[in-house]
Symmetry: C2
Subunit: 365 residues, 2 copies
């Protein structure tokens, strides 16, 4: 697998930040940028937003302010972000990643703006990478072995072909090898049973293609996995279509939120419960830290000709800083080259007849 | 909605129990049957299994032993259960529900045997109900409002048409009205966003059909819901295809299992943690009870000409007793008639051109 030969970037890495995105905008993104810079002495940031909102960041070290006059709202339809707000902070931030004369102003971009708009604008500005039919969104979840599981796609593609799923597997492998330093991460195909005969026709065909890719040394495919394996640690990467991935992610969020509120209710039910909570506080805090979803903030948009990371819209400064860190690690470890090389290698080893589809704007959740 | 006019069954209800099914067989099912009988003085049971295994139950009150010579193993392929083991306890138990000369020996059947085999044998023995293209599996999950959410389908159907999803909505409504006594339960369509334009073509078309069914007073459709809404209590019923439903259920199981093991690890990490656990024990126990999946055991196979309930294979006696209770409540409240009436009403109000599909054996997870 070619990804392993890639050397990390020497010297500084620049990240373009859409400071206006998300539920809270600069109130969250600016403190996050400050904290990030303090922890990453080799990083540089391009802070993108309205002049007024970024006044406070004018003199910051290793920072430049890039002006944008518009802001994509969290509920703006994709069309508005794409066609009307051409000078939005989101679009300007993404544009920093696009090479002009072979050089880009930034190596990655981070935005907490709305997912559909971000994917559409990124796809329009940066274009899809050669050999990729559809970009995907990949996120990371904690697992039982105290490791991470990377899941993709998470909502960019509601209907996927077997070819798409193979590409997701290849891109996910590049991501994990770049960010986690794992040369040959395990890939599982999300299905409703472990046997190869399970699932619908697309899934079965994707399984066949992944077995061929495994035989050719392109991915480390371990076979079908089930929903619970997102958390068992049996696999490093879970590949699925965007509909299923989105439902799985939101189901997990919903359950986590219910359990959290049940724990809170039980520990505040009576004076005795409250005393128990007080005594159990250090234990509960460790538990909370272990499953803190903010630590896993920062989903990668993969398959574009530039690195774009999506922060949760409701991220606080701590969570947004994690997304910046994730983008920084990816850029430093040349994720873009790794995806490019692995996809090229796959195309050469397993040529497909499927024509690239760069047509309609993808629908994102 | 016609389901509400149905009167509960007067007098006794008989449940046929596949005593050999599940990971533990009679060691679990027989104690569960005893506990169930003690709590339900009007219930009768038909205990189905090998003569040897059921020796101990020979003299039990309100019980008859029905002999079967074979057992479907948890890993038996569907074909084996269907074609080779014609005298299996699973098949004999299901046959008790089939009317002979207008009268059936039992009003419902419960088995902890493997899902694929159970669905296939039930479908073969009982046949699909008029107006139903494909039977579905429905289960219940706890939600944040201390109520239940019924989710279907859970793996019987990997590819579903919009018509299938409408039928699931109608059958789910009949189930909830029968078991929970809610005349007009809310139905949500599982999607990746709340807006009607979200999702793939099948989902969009299902949304349209559900809106028409809502306008005709057939279901109480509240629109699209997302994965987290399984747990928010926003809807009583979540409708989805079997692939998505299975992934959502298993994702939830995986997360719950991870969180449980994290809590256990943190509370046993040090002597001080163990002391905290001791003091917090009553609180932790209340929490555990609230989310105890055993309380929700017993999935309904809907759309067949007979009531069949599926217990988790790994169920203990407490969990298996819950499944018996669920089947009993469904039979007592004439679930079969309710499904039949509601489907007929739907067919009359919204006739479709789709031919019934009773062809291939369904694939279950």
């Amino acid at each position: 697998m070619s990804g392993e030969a890639v050397m990390p970037v020497l010297g500084s890495v620049t990240i373009a930040v859409d400071c206006m995105g998300g539920d809270h905008g600069p109130a969250v993104t600016l403190p996050a940028c400050q904290a990030f810079l303090a922890r990453h002495p080799q990083a540089r940031l391009l802070l993108v937003g309205t002049a007024e909102a970024l006044q406070g960041a004018a003199g910051w070290e290793r920072c430049s302010v890039v002006a944008a006059t518009e802001v994509v709202a969290m509920d703006d339809p994709v069309e508005v972000a794409l066609r009307r707000k051409r000078d939005s902070s989101m679009r300007v931030a993404i544009s920093q990643v696009k090479p002009v004369g072979g050089v880009a102003a930034a190596q990655a971009c981070v935005s907490a703006g709305n997912t559909g708009a971000l994917m559409a604008v990124a796809r329009y500005v940066l274009k899809t990478m050669e050999g990729i039919d559809r970009p995907a969104i990949a996120t990371v979840m904690p697992n039982q072995r105290d490791g991470h599981t990377t899941v993709l796609d998470l909502g960019a593609n509601v209907d996927c072909s077997a070819e798409n799923l193979l590409q997701f597997a290849v891109m996910g492998s590049a991501l994990v090898s770049a960010v986690e330093g794992d040369a040959s991460p395990r890939v599982g195909l999300l299905n409703i049973g472990e046997e190869a005969i399970k699932g619908n026709e697309t899934i079965k065909r994707a399984g066949e293609m992944l077995r061929r890719a495994q035989a050719a040394g392109l991915v480390n495919f371990i076979g079908n996995v089930e929903g619970n394996d997102i958390f068992t640690g049996k696999t490093d990467i879970v590949v699925c279509d965007g509909f299923v991935g989105n439902v799985a992610l939101k189901t997990a969020e919903g359950l986590a939120s219910m359990l959290t509120s049940f724990i809170r209710e039980e520990f505040t039910r009576s004076p005795l419960s409250k005393l128990a909570a007080l005594l159990a506080m250090p234990v509960l805090k460790r538990f909370k830290h272990r499953v803190d979803h903010r630590r896993y903030n920062g989903a990668a948009l993969l398959g574009l000709r530039g690195l774009v990371f999506k922060s949760h819209g409701s991220a606080d400064a701590y969570a947004f800083e994690q997304a910046l860190g994730r983008a920084y690690d990816a850029a430093r470890n040349r994720l873009l080259d790794r995806v490019h090389d692995r996809i090229l290698e796959t195309l050469q080893a397993l040529p497909t007849q499927a024509p690239p589809d760069d047509g309609p704007v993808p629908q994102a959740a």
